[in-house]
Amino acid sequence: MIRALAWVLRRDMLLAFRRRGDVVNALVFFVIVVSLFPLGVGPEPNQLRGMAPGVLWVAALLACMLSLARLFAPDHQDGTLEQMLLAGEPLVVLVMGKAISHWLVSGLPLVLIAPLLGLQFDLPGNALAVLSVSLLLGTPVLSLIGAVGAALTLGVRGSGVLVALLVLPLFVPVLIFGAGSVGAAVAGTGAEAHFLLLGGFLALSVVLAPWACAAALRIAME
């Protein structure tokens, strides 16, 4: 089982490496959106500090969603997805592998670059650390929930908009507590409670999302 998971991961990382352009797209989108805000709003430090958590988190969430359309659709088109359904390994495990590789490719780079972008908003050091941790806990949830949405809309025309409609309501709690944790750090009230809640979301989605995703893929194959 672990071997199958490792092979799915290895395959998807190889594919991501060979199609670097797609990977860079989401990252560039994130950097551009976040960098435009200080330019558009003006250099008032207090205002920037106030809006930084929301801007960074909304941009991260949208960047994550951008790449969801490519999570299962290419595999569906070339027939490798139906082979995964017939793999003789639990589909849940393979789906988990897909979600992990999605996070490694489109979530982890955001976590790493976010503190740098946070400097543009004059965030203090402790708030930058909190931002990283909150993204580290929150972006895997986005990948897992997003995978369910991508599986449900597989093979549907205009699936991009549909995915957004399906998963955005589920992303909202993550957004609120993710951005809230950074806000709390800026205000100096401590972010532990937010982290615990984000961790709770992560645990819940690790347990539930792969099952929902596997079931949705089986339906999409019919």
Partner: protein, 219 residues
Amino acid sequence: MGIAVMLEAIELECIRGERRLFSGLSFSLGSGELLRVVGANGSGKTSLLRIMCGLVEPSAGALRWQGRSIRTEREEYSRNLVFIGHLNALKDDLTALENLQVAAALAGMPADAARMLAALDCFGVAHCAELPAKVLSQGQRRRAALARLALSSAVPLWILDEPFSALDVAAVVELERLLAAHLASGGMVVLTTHQEVQVVAQAVLRVDLDLHAAALLAA
């Protein structure tokens, strides 16, 4: 002594959209037997094969593998079959070798490069092993996909959708040889094809979906 029945289809029915493609389709398949599914375009050959793989639920009826429903024993059944559909299931950005390694690993087989190269060589595409699948010709892609069969002699049930399409004469001969060897060692093959093929088998069964459609109209 009769042949042990391994796979049994009972009163299968398939409805696609508003159309009923076939119904009341029953057959059984034992070791060493070849089942050839024939029928006009659109008569439901691919649908039947996808039902037999467990990818699609039949609208009615059931499939049993060694007496047990394939729905309840899904993973166990999947380990006992190889399916090659009309899509080649190759990732364009991976090499032929990497594609085969991933397929073997997902099927729970060892994925060492030497074994993979031998399988590719069996279909004469070993020299393309390091090329990305997107630069291969249609026939080479089909050969690279079929190389999975050369790895799968221990897997009893082969389900092949138009395996001979895009193949040249040499590859057709090689595939026929592989199918005959598989059947001789007690395997089972289900295939659809429009070509006449010479495969030596203990028994060749035929399911003609046109006849089933005709029977439906008469009934």
